[in-house]
Point group: C2
Chain length 203, copies 2
């Protein structure tokens, strides 16, 4: 396999075929519209990916809205980094992790207050991209009415991009989404190998 990969003619032919496929795809893909992207599954990197897309959107000069539906007891690096940037509106739901509160009513109230913030962003076409971080958790526990969420997402401005993260995305949300990535665990330092959760990567 290695030797074949090094054959320059074969390599050029393969790259040529690949280039053709890419060009055809680009030609076919002509719908200009805001994309609804869902990042789900048990693997590491869902929220990070959402925040990377925030950075990319900011790099393109867009205004970005961020609503975090689950917040740790400690302030996160993302919050420290993004909160005070121009072009960023950053909202964090007013409770700790669900498994620290143990109070369903309080969680429901906090989640719905956070959704009110998100819903207002989803009506405002000045936001080019909205990140709804860990929304899937709030949906999984039925903290927020799924139909309300789906309606607000569908009613948003045509060019607005939305990124939703969290494991266990509901099937109805997956159906509505344009792109869905399922992140699977192959190995996990924190769970499998006893490596301490750390600042910087917080695994």
């Amino acid at each position: 396999m290695r030797e074949r990969a090094k054959d320059p003619e074969r390599h050029a032919r393969r790259m040529d075929a690949k280039q053709k496929i890419m060009q055809e795809r680009i030609a076919r893909a002509q719908k200009e519209q805001g994309v609804l992207l869902v990042l789900t599954g048990p693997g590491k990197g869902k929220s990070s990916s959402g925040f990377g897309m925030v950075a990319r959107a900011l790099g393109h000069g867009m205004k970005v809205g961020i609503v975090q539906f689950i917040k740790g007891a400690f302030s996160t690096g993302e919050e420290a980094f993004f909160r005070d940037l121009p072009n960023v509106d950053y909202h964090v739901m007013g409770q700790g992790y669900t498994w620290d509160t143990k109070n369903r009513e309080q969680d429901v109230e906090a989640a719905n207050a956070a959704w009110d913030v998100a819903a207002a962003m989803l009506k405002d076409n000045s936001y080019g991209l909205i990140l709804l971080d860990e929304l899937n958790i709030a949906l999984k526990y039925d903290y927020i009415d799924l139909d309300r969420v789906l309606d607000d997402l569908q009613g948003r401005p045509e060019m607005q991009h939305v990124v939703i993260t969290g494991r266990s995305a509901p099937a109805e949300l997956v159906d509505l989404a344009d792109t869905v990535t399922e992140m699977g665990v192959v190995k996990h330092a924190f769970k499998d190998q006893g490596i301490k959760a750390q600042k910087g990567v917080e695994l």
Copy 2:
């Protein structure tokens, strides 16, 4: 299922059990060390996730090194956003997409020059986190010697975090990594639904 999820006692018990598991895991996880994280698979969000971790590390005051092993013809939003930040050293490999160059020798040369930059970062403990974006592609095509890469990664400062992205991560790299996420495609707007690749999310 929905009804059971709404039973407050059951909910409190479940959250209680979850909290215990989390506490046990945190108690067990006491190795303080830099983590090698690999984000691979065909799904959307690998590079974004790496850039999100860059933002998180910067939020914690770390110095970050970024080397991009594949560069598109156009400047990316991430580059525009991160390149000129203090605490960021940003290096982009000096060629277009491999399927645009069709010249194996040129690709090998460019990839190795980029690895030289990465290798120097991997010897410098002032970098808290290093992102090697799309390195897996360069390894897949044998542009860079895998043993050299593995040696440099293993020889890095103990507390340095490294994030490597790209589909088709080699098995030897997966073995060396602490955490590996495989990103699977559930749906893809660009491929499946003819939605145009756009600034902001670039799907």
